[in-house]
Amino acid sequence: MLKDSELIRYSRHLLLDDLGAHGQAKLKKAKVLIIGMGGLGSPASLYLAAAGVGSLTICDFDSLELSNLQRQIAYQSDEIGSAKVTLMQQRLKKLNPEISVRCIANKMEEPQFNLELLLADLVLDCTDNMPTRQLINRVCFNGKVPLIVGAAIRFEGHLSFFDHKDPDAACYHCYAPSSVDPQLNCSNSGVLGAVVGVMGSLQALEAIKIIVGIESTVKNKLKLFDGKTLQWQSFTINKDPNCQVCGKK
């Protein structure tokens, strides 16, 4: 049941045929783990908090730096040096006091990840490096927790959804099989802030759709966004039977 204050706060959601009071109640019950509070995690966390996702767990071990502020829009210039999760928790609680926000301020290893996944309905990978992305995919597959992956560099964005509850679904490793490839990241290649913002916002959009039961069109897909032309490409990711993560062992 939604309180009076929630009926007003979410009134624009309640007008949506595809969401309504039923969908809003699902959002309130939902538990989402967001890993990475940078350029993707900033808009993703803000939108999920604003949308009324009842339990958010946010994870990052970095402190805010001056060079983050060009794209990590949840933070302010006078907050440099503070832990991002602490800043984000304060920001989200101010934005929406109706929800619960829990912080993880350390780099999670596999045992802690496995415990956290017991408390999560859905995971958003908003991280910035390939080894962590591979770890997140592996633990989410093992824990059967659906995973929304976003990434951005330069003017390019990538978006995927891997439904680890579905045994026939592909996983991130089916598409990006190596954790030792040369890595492109924001600090060595640059990124336009608005491009990473688009991708983080889309991760939030897909999360909301999945929670309320609107079919995600990025399941087993890789969507490529070109920020220069605004064109999208869409590719199917089939389950690789020989995948080291989700293939037959």
Partner: protein
């Protein structure tokens, strides 16, 4: 035979994906490839034979955020 790579037409000798990428000096590591809209996993690249009129999309895997 004719194929297209990122919407550019190319005339190539019959070859595997891996051989083709070597022939055009395209890096294997860090790359992803789709043929006719379907991602082909990297373990298949040595043995996957390109076909006439295949449409290849070659791009880099990105991890930033």
């Amino acid at each position: 035979m004719k194929i297209t790579v990122n919407e550019v037409e190319k005339e190539i000798q019959p070859s595997s994906i891996e051989q083709f990428l070597k022939d055009i000096d395209s890096p294997i590591k860090g790359s992803a490839l789709a043929i006719n809209g379907v991602i082909i996993s990297r373990v298949q690249w040595p043995n996957y034979q390109l076909q006439e009129n295949d449409s290849l999309s070659l791009f880099q895997v990105i991890a930033g955020g």
